[in-house]
Subunit: 419 residues, 2 copies
């Protein structure tokens, strides 16, 4: 069988499974998810670690970086956190079947909207094999079938995790095809998959910008994604300096390698002389390199001159671009020009400025007086996160179970016809 035919059959059986999954009760879905969580901590965990060792050996032979190897490694702690994440998902409310509104039309028709699964979700991701269990758990919970395509470096680990998922689905009476992996590592199989819009309803790429652009450029299926997170903190004219310092420091340093870490600090000119030396000294203690505009460098002599490119760069590391602005207008303009619609924050004591920033900054998460690091499905209280979207369609910002569902119209009539 050609790989085109293989991936087509995978997608087709996923679509069939999706029809059945859509009507399953929460108890059935939750039981399966909990069962997977349990098995990860039993003998299956050892099998997964053994498979993972094969991937690690190959990765070391290939000379993968320590960071990559760290991401790839499945320890007991990783298994435990995978298991706990699944238990959390099982305990969340089931979004499917929720009727979010119902109204009566003048002709007596009762019209409502009810939440339903999307159908089949394709997830294309890199390295971290824990995504396999996380994503499958969220998809099952929301009644969707899932087709997983992990990186080739994690193939053995992913196969071992999927084996557990599929065995549990079988035992618990979930449909065949509910959880599948792309059946070949043939690169063109992904291209083929991205064309199967008659079977697959959504593609979520998770990984570097290159992977995501490849998916967007080649997909006929809707894609939810964010390319990068160039997040800003704007320190306003009227600011609690200590709060601003804590927030900027936390947003940059607490976990610099993630998309909701701050990359550019904007400071109102009236507070720059006082604030910049303070935050500069604080960041220096953690070895943060500052790239500043001309004005910034007047108050922070250690700062490297920023170039145009710095304003749109996601460093994912201990570098911070800093710009002094003349007004909040200029700050909002800067964010609108260089930002990535991901997450931006203002630190201010001014009521009107807070409200205006929330209104006028078009990013998917806008915060007042809090660290950008809160832009996360769990932190915002969505209970889970399948990804963050900066595409304005469908979901915008952190995406939980709701983002894995849609709504259909249901209509109760008693014989109405159109005149």
């Amino acid at each position: 069988m050609s790989y085109e035919e293989e991936i087509r059959q995978t997608a087709q059986s996923a679509a069939e499974a999706a029809r059945k999954l859509a009507t399953l009760g929460s108890d059935v879905k939750n039981r399966a998810i909990v069962r997977v969580a349990e098995r990860l901590l039993l003998g299956d965990g050892d099998a997964i670690k053994a498979a993972n060792k094969k991937d690690l050996d190959r990765a070391k032979n290939k000379g993968l970086s320590d960071v990559m190897i760290d991401r790839l490694t499945i320890t007991d702690m990783v298994l435990r956190s995978m298991s706990e994440a699944l238990i959390d998902v099982a305990s969340l409310p089931d979004p499917v079947g929720e009727v979010s509104g119902m109204w009566r039309r003048p002709n007596g028709l009762l019209v409502g909207k009810v939440r339903i699964p999307l159908g089949v979700i394709g997830i294309i991701y890199e390295s971290r094999p824990n995504v396999t269990a996380d994503a499958a758990g969220l998809c099952l919970k929301s009644g969707n079938a899932v087709i997983l395509r992990g990186g080739s470096e994690a193939i053995n680990s992913n196969l071992a995790i999927v084996k557990v998922l599929q065995e549990v689905c079988r035992e618990e009476g979930l449909p065949e095809g509910a959880v599948q992996m792309v059946p070949t590592m043939e690169r063109d199989a992904v291209l083929e998959m991205l064309k199967l819009d008659q079977y697959i309803d959504l593609i979520i790429p998770r990984g570097g910008e290159r992977l995501i652009r490849f998916v967007v450029d080649n997909s006929r299926i809707p894609v939810i994604k964010h390319y990068k997170g160039v997040c800003h903190v704007y320190v306003d004219e009227s600011t609690d300096m200590e709060m601003a310092e804590e927030i900027v420091f936390n947003a940059k340093v607490q976990r610099p390698g993630v998309c909701n870490a701050v990359e550019t600090l904007l400071v109102h000119e009236s507070v720059a002389p006082e604030f910049l030396p303070k935050i500069g000294a604080r960041l220096e203690t953690e070895g943060v390199e500052i790239r500043g505009c001309e004005e910034t460098r007047k108050f922070l002599s250690s700062a490297v001159p920023a170039i145009e490119e710095d304003w749109s760069t996601e460093y994912l590391g201990l570098i911070l671009a800093v710009r002094v602005v003349k007004s909040m207008d200029q700050a909002i303009d800067h964010i609108s020009r260089y930002g990535s619609l991901h997450t931006d924050a203002i630190v201010t004591k001014d009521y009107a400025n807070a409200q205006r920033f929330l209104r006028e900054v078009g990013s998917s998460t806008v915060l007042v007086n809090a660290s950008t690091r809160f832009s996360d499905g769990h932190q915002l209280g969505l209970g889970a996160e399948i990804g963050i979207s900066t595409t304005k369609l469908h979901a915008f910002g952190p995406m939980g179970l709701d983002g894995l569902t849609t709504q259909k119209f249901i209509v109760y009539g008693n014989g109405q016809i159109r005149g």
Copy 2:
């Protein structure tokens, strides 16, 4: 300037306009929409009719069909209905700024979701020039900038309508670039436009299946669309026969050329002997051709034998495919296999079957005891309709003003940082 450069500038200025439109108050937007409505009934209406005459003359010279010419024609009545539609849109509630939920996190963060415009919407459509005013009105109301690309046969009419829209925007202080047309009829300009995902947030194609497939195959921007409407009415075992007859007749005959007209009738075998002769005779009075399965033809000798292709055909005319099914299971299977996720209805007296049909049929609008013709934004009470989506992402089913917006997260903190 090359057409690539032209369309790029159009999109860029639309994105700039979108930023300003997003923060406009409802009163400003409504005033502009009402002003356009007024001007369509004054001297501008004559200018539009004169421009339309040029299009009509050319269309007649080219030998366009009567149906096409009818769609293209702008009469006083068409102007009046365009004007009324705009007044209706102005009177609808503004979706922008609606906070649909707000919750407090354990750390004191107050997290909410607020409705915002999508940004820039590209509308690609065929023939009917009234779409120009309708779509622009809906986009302005929802705070979006719009780039219109009508058919070449309506170019003069569309230019005349857009001229009014742009003049009013200027007079009422709406940003330049809020309403624009693709600046060239060069066919490749559309291809170019579909790549500008840094400026354009959504593409809505409205027209035949060929146009829509072209857009989907070439767009890097999310597309909302439906290819076709193969709608079903299922007449259940336990049915009020008279009601079923009225509903099927209405769904087929009241306006057969539209996407929510019924194309396939499914009849439970236990009522087929009584129901089929009745509905057959009734449909015959309107000249409806029936294409039936073998079982159907036992009770309707005038029916043509249906072939496999009939089950997935959108006739858009006075033809109805009819199939006798052994059970509701078979009916739901048929709909799932051949349907288009558009609109399907059941006629039944049975409570459990009604509920099950609503739950298990995956289409965007599912009705009990009502005509499929109600699957329409106005009829369902959305106030307006920009299109119908059978893509499960973002909007599914008739799309009103809400479908032209998305939600962002807003977060009120008082100094929270992540631990």
